[in-house]
């Protein structure tokens, strides 16, 4: 029985370090290669020894697919390819390929330069790693090898985010990466066709959340920012340089313009300008509206938003600052947070999900006294707001995607176990498909039942469809053929052709039955009566009266002769081949009953 095996090395009942192994029809594919934001030790990377204990990565894996540029999906890539050692192809979309190395470099700097860690990947390793990357287009079918093909679909989570279909023969798996089913201010909604995969591996970050309308959230957000600024407070918005940041920038930019506000908006890190540039160049990946208007006005050229300098944080008066990273676990956003946390006039708005263990997660769960490095206690007096702007699909969106793709099985990753459990039940109820949620290192095996493709000779097919279409398509029709199995190739041909190809002679089996009928009339009159009789009964058959005095029913031949001894008895010779066995047998028994008297 063919099977698909899935083993999450990360993101199994967890968010962070997404890394999922899929074995399908003898091919091994690794989906994403992320790091975990919550850990600073060995646990931050997936455990590749799961693979390496049995040999080299390159030998085991046929390809690696990266869904998008977030570090929890690609952060371990240089470690994986350069330090553990993998030389096979790595697939990602063009924007991901462009942005990914910058984020990796950023990540490396924070870890190595600031925290002084050694034994970490180097800039050169990032470059070498990116050389192994093959960029793919949306909807392009990439033939990894003879059998394995992958295809990217738009996922709408961040610029260049994609879902991937992995297909071998007629078995297929769809991996969603992170996706978003509702279009936002700069990206479109995820879309997939009805590809009916055997397995859909879906993220489930918001497994239990159903978010209210986007517009309400936006209004809420603007109101809170506005109020804080009005009373002279400072607003800190921790974001990742790409993705949400751009959406919120567009939002604030238009709001500032409309309300004619003067409070400065800053965007930290030099990455931003570059980031916006990427958005300009990859505008084909954004939503319809931005694409249509970009010639007149590029949405990513901001007027009100300026670059941030570290010194600005101490400036008096209101301001809004976007700072990276988004979970307050390090870097500039954490620095600013520490400066502003003591003032209750200020506000921090967390626009996205925070992984367990990060400062972001702690303050969101209500902790107000934080232990910082060096045993310092930081008291948080500023207001803490959480607004889900992160572009993950909510429960409704996940269900919608399942409906779109019509999978045979669903497997949940990238979510919290409890929430997954709830969604799993819901999916099983609503779609009656199996739903799995393996933990890290746990293997799920799914049995598939693929049909077997064979070649059919066109002659046979045409003959069959020609007959089949005539009366009623709904009536099942039996077709008959011979399957030739030769050196692993399967061909279905008509039996005649099979005999011919194999050089076998057909053996004809023929039956002739004598049926005696009492009929005093002349031979040809008898024949005529038999003919009329048969014609009346066998309406659906072709009954013919041939000039030589015989009758044919389909290919059955009936001849009448007078009995040599008794002129009143006619002998009907019914002759048929084995192929007409039933009809022939039926005819003889029919004729044996005699002819109806009334017919003339």
């Amino acid at each position: 029985m063919p099977e698909i095996k899935v083993t999450p090395l990360g993101a199994g009942q967890d968010v962070g370090r997404s890394c999922i192994l899929v074995s399908i029809a003898g091919k091994n594919v690794m989906l994403d290669c992320g790091m975990h934001m919550g850990y600073n030790d060995d646990r931050r990377f997936p455990d590749f020894s799961y693979i390496t204990q049995n040999g080299r990565l390159t030998d085991f894996l046929d390809c690696v697919i990266i869904s998008h540029f977030h570090l929890d999906h690609c952060g371990a890539l240089p470690y994986f390819s350069e330090m553990v050692g993998y030389d096979g192809p790595i697939y990602m979309t063009h924007p991901t390929k462009a942005i990914c190395p910058i984020l990796l470099e950023d990540y490396r700097k924070i870890t190595v330069d600031k925290k002084g860690e050694t034994n970490f990947f180097t800039s050169q390793m990032i470059k070498d790693c990116m050389k192994k990357v093959v960029a793919v287009h949306l909807h392009q079918t990439v033939q990894v090898d003879e059998e394995l093909e992958i295809k990217a679909y738009y996922a709408g989570h961040v610029l260049g985010a994609a879902m991937f279909q992995i297909k071998v023969g007629c078995e297929s798996v769809v991996y969603t990466g992170d996706y978003n089913m509702t279009p936002d201010r700069h990206l479109g909604a995820a879309w997939i066709d009805k590809c009916r995969p055997d397995l859909l591996i879906s993220e489930s970050t918001y497994a239990t959340t159903i978010r209210d309308s986007k517009r309400c959230r936006e209004r809420d957000f603007l109101k809170k920012v506005h109020e804080t600024v009005e009373r002279g407070g400072k607003v800190l918005i921790p974001v990742f340089a790409l993705g949400r940041a751009q959406e919120l920038c567009i939002l604030l930019e238009t709001f500032w313009e409309r309300m004619n506000l003067k409070a400065p908006i800053y965007f930290s890190t030099g990455l931003t300008e570059k980031a916006n540039h990427y958005y300009k160049l990859f505008i084909t990946w954004t939503n319809q509206k931005i694409r249509k208007t970009f010639v007149q006005r590029n949405m990513f050229e901001f007027k009100h938003i300026k670059a941030f300098d570290r010194a600005f944080a101490d400036n008096p008066g209101p301001m809004v600052v976007f700072a990276t990273p988004g979970m307050l676990h390090a870097g500039q956003s954490l620095q600013i947070f520490r400066k502003w946390a003591g003032n209750e006039k200020n506000m921090v708005i967390m626009p996205g999900y925070c992984v367990q263990g990060t400062v972001g997660h702690k303050i969101l769960s209500g902790q107000r006294k934080l232990e910082m490095e060096g045993r310092q206690i930081l008291e948080v007096k500023m207001q803490v707001e959480y607004m889900s702007f992160s572009a993950h699909a909510d429960a409704k969106g996940i269900m919608q995607l399942i409906r779109q793709a019509e999978p045979q099985n669903v497997l949940l990753v990238h979510g919290e176990a409890k929430k997954m459990e709830f969604l799993k039940q819901k999916i099983e109820q609503e779609f009656h498909v199996n739903c799995y949620m393996p933990a890290n290192g746990e293997t799920t095996t799914i049995f598939t039942n693929p049909s077997i493709p064979v070649d059919i000779s066109l002659g046979l097919l045409k003959r069959e469809t020609a007959i089949g279409l005539l009366p009623d398509v709904k009536k099942p029709k039996l077709m008959h053929g011979t399957l030739i199995m030769k050196d692993n190739s399967f061909r279905l041909v008509s039996p005649e052709q099979a005999l011919k190809e194999l050089g076998l002679a057909e053996h004809q089996l023929r039956f002739t039955c004598r049926v005696h009928i009492q009929d005093p009339r002349k031979e040809h009159e008898t024949v005529l009566r038999v003919y009329n009789h048969l014609k009346a009964i066998l309406k659906d058959y072709s009954v013919q009266h041939l000039p030589d005095g015989s009758i044919t029913v389909e290919s059955i031949l009936i001849q009448a002769t007078a009995h040599s001894e008794d002129q009143g008895t006619k002998v009907l010779l019914v002759s048929w081949t084995y192929q007409d066995e039933e009809l022939g047998s039926y005819l003889t028994s029919l004729l044996k009953k005699g002819l109806p008297q009334s017919t003339a």
Partner: protein, 655 residues
């Protein structure tokens, strides 16, 4: 089916496996050369041209036809020569595949006037740039409303009397005026965007795939294939490295049929050399204080020209000469070119990763060396400084802003017009402007395949058959001795011409069918020869969306003997199980032994010429056994017959 006579602007229809696929719909615009130019500003010269008078002195055509330097032109809104619409019912076309933006200009005529209800497939750059080309075309024609639309000359009787080339123009009655913007929008809304190597399934029967053709942004060749047949459509391809993604040749291998169109129109010119000539002519004119006019399309080669100039101007000391790009879509075209990074060649792609704009014209614009304007009116007239270089359309010189510059600069021999687009003969294009003092330089840049490259390509991909327009099977008429300027391959290419229907020389033999796993389990393979097994399949054939699936029959077929029909209606069983064919031969001795074992005591065997006759005397039954046939003749004794039948069957193999 071939609907267009122009080999570079093809329009063909392919019928393949019950689908009807239109390959490109190019618009032959050379017809406009027969018309007078449309000036933006009233031109006294053009309006004073004398009317054309017939030989017999009758002047009834002098309103419609004007004479200029010995050539006769139609004074009317320019009209285009459409693809053939009569050859087949175009409403039956299921899909249209577009290979590049030059080959989609007739799209509105097809989608809006023929009852077409299908889908159009094209890549995103093709659609966006195609839209720009159409916009420019519509704009430049609608901007100059012309009161009269000449039709009298189209009368067959009248046309006969006209001088060449009007006399020889084909299908003049079919010529149509330009479409309008709403029609363009409607047509483009029927397009579905595709990416390279995307496999698109048509009705479950055919798979079509666009491949990079290397000619222009988003230009594609198409593969149309089913499980066993592969037709490649190669149109407008280039092996040169310019800005687009290089051509994908590997995927064209193993084609049964390769349709080849859109080869270079200037097989003798080398594009690289032409670019060099272009630059030196441009520099020379400007140095002498003259202006340079480059009639061009708003997209395509202009990107390469700008890139060359970017590198060239500094070394040639031209950095102070302004470059103007005038087109209603100039801005859009330059902007669009920057965002299609994924469709560009590798070098340009890597630039985007930095991130930097892929084309250097962004820098030219930033440093104000290149300025673009929607038209000569407005800002342009204020900024205009001479000497300068102007890029503008339309290359036919019949409409667009170029007409104005021709009138303006034509009188001075300091100025130069440089033709780079190969679509129009430059002599014909210039005809209505004669006499002309301006210098004319012809540097056609056509990056499409030349014949040497074609033979290399064909050697590489090895198609079974090649199909191409008839123009490619003979040397060009002007250079009839150049036998190297034709396609040469084995077997010789099959050629077609306008309005011809061609049957492609190959036959389909097999089709894919799927066997459900349950059914597969139930099959009993029989090894006939070593390595070859046979299994008899009796199953229900389900055909849906042109996909065939074999399923288990709903009920196992009942043994025929138990089928005692009680009612007449039982006569026609719905699932009549077909009887298998038999094979093998019956060894008589063993057969007789078996008969005896089953209680037949009076078996008598007679030898005949071909075999044996087995007689069962008591039952008056005769069994003729030959090498490959058995004949049972008996009285109407059904149980006996069935018994004998089963015994015979034991010796035979069933299929």
């Amino acid at each position: 089916y071939c609907l267009s006579g122009h080999p570079t602007l093809p329009c063909n229809v392919l019928k393949f496996k019950s689908t009807t696929i239109m390959l490109d719909c190019g618009l032959d615009m050379t017809s406009t050369l027969n018309f007078l130019p449309l000036p933006l500003v009233q031109s006294p010269r053009l309006s004073k041209l004398p009317g054309w008078v017939l030989k017999d002195g009758s002047t009834f055509l002098d309103k419609e036809l004007k004479e200029c330097s010995g050539h006769v032109f139609v004074d009317s809104v320019p009209e285009f020569c459409l693809p053939e619409t009569e050859l087949l019912d175009l409403s039956t076309v299921d899909v249209i595949l577009i290979s590049n933006y030059h080959c989609m200009m007739a799209l509105p005529y097809i989608t809006e006037y023929t009852g077409f209800t299908g889908t159009v497939y094209a890549t995103e750059p093709t659609v966006q740039i195609g839209r720009l080309l159409m916009e420019e075309l519509v704009n430049s024609i609608e901007r100059v409303p012309k009161a009269q639309s000449a039709s009298m000359w189209k009368n067959k009787e009248v046309q006969r009397l006209l001088p060449a080339p009007l006399k020889d123009a084909v299908e003049v009655s079919m010529w149509r005026k330009c479409y309008t913007m709403p029609e363009v929008n409607a047509a483009l809304s029927k397009i579905q965007l595709v990416g390279y190597s995307q496999k698109i399934e048509l009705f479950g029967a055919v798979l079509v795939t666009p491949l990079s053709s290397g000619y222009a942004l988003g230009s594609s060749n198409w593969i149309i294939q089913s499980h066993y047949e592969k037709v490649s459509y190669v149109s407008g391809s280039s092996l040169l490295t310019t800005h687009p993604q290089p051509m994908d040749q590997a995927s064209l291998k193993n084609s049964d049929v390769l349709i080849l169109t859109g080869l270079t129109q200037i097989p003798t010119a080398n594009p690289d050399g032409m670019v060099g000539e272009f630059c030196s002519n441009l520099a020379m004119t400007v140095r002498n204080g003259g202006n340079v006019l480059v009639p061009c399309y708003p997209s395509g080669v202009i990107y390469d020209l700008l890139e060359c100039l970017y590198q060239y101007i500094d070394s040639a000391g031209l950095s102070n000469v302004p470059f103007y790009f005038i087109s209603p879509v100039a801005n859009s075209s330059l902007e669009f070119s920057q965002i299609f990074a994924e469709w560009l060649c590798h070098n340009k792609q890597t630039k985007v990763y930095l991130p930097e704009p892929p084309f250097p014209h962004a820098e030219l614009i930033q440093t104000n060396k290149l300025k673009h304007y929607p038209s000569i009116h407005g800002d342009f007239s204020n900024d205009f400084k001479q000497p300068c270089v102007v890029f503008t359309g339309h290359p036919s010189l019949r409409f667009g802003d170029v007409v104005h510059f021709m009138e303006l600069w034509g009188k001075s021999s300091l100025n130069t017009v440089i033709f780079t687009e190969p679509d129009f003969s430059y002599l014909d294009a210039l005809a209505p402007y004669q006499p002309l003092a301006m210098k004319c330089v012809y540097c056609p840049i056509d990056t499409r395949l030349n014949f040497i490259q074609v033979s290399k390509l064909l050697k590489e991909v090895q198609p079974l058959h090649v199909v191409c327009p008839e123009q490619y099977t003979q040397p060009p008429p002007t250079q009839s001795h150049r036998t190297d300027l034709m396609i040469d391959c084995q077997p010789p290419p099959v050629s077609y011409h306008r309005a011809e229907v061609l049957t492609l020389p190959y036959k389909r033999r097999y089709e894919k069918i799927e066997i459900m796993p349950e059914l597969a389990d139930s099959l009993v393979p029989l090894e006939i020869k070593p390595g070859i097994s046979l299994a008899t399949v009796s199953a229900v054939l389900h055909t849906k969306d042109n996909k065939h699936v074999l399923q288990l029959p709903p009920k196992p077929p009942q043994p025929p003997a138990s089928k005692k029909r009680k009612r007449v209606s039982d006569d026609v069983p719905e699932c009549k199980p077909l009887k298998p064919l038999l094979s093998g031969s019956i060894p008589v001795d063993q057969f007789v032994q078996t008969l005896e074992k089953h209680g037949f005591s009076d078996v008598k065997v007679e030898d005949t010429a071909k075999g044996h006759i087995v007689l069962l005397q008591e039952a008056e039954t005769l069994i003729q056994i030959e090498e490959d046939s058995t004949h049972i003749i008996c009285d109407n004794d059904e149980p006996l017959r069935v018994k004998l039948r089963d015994l015979v069957l034991k010796f035979l193999q069933k299929f």
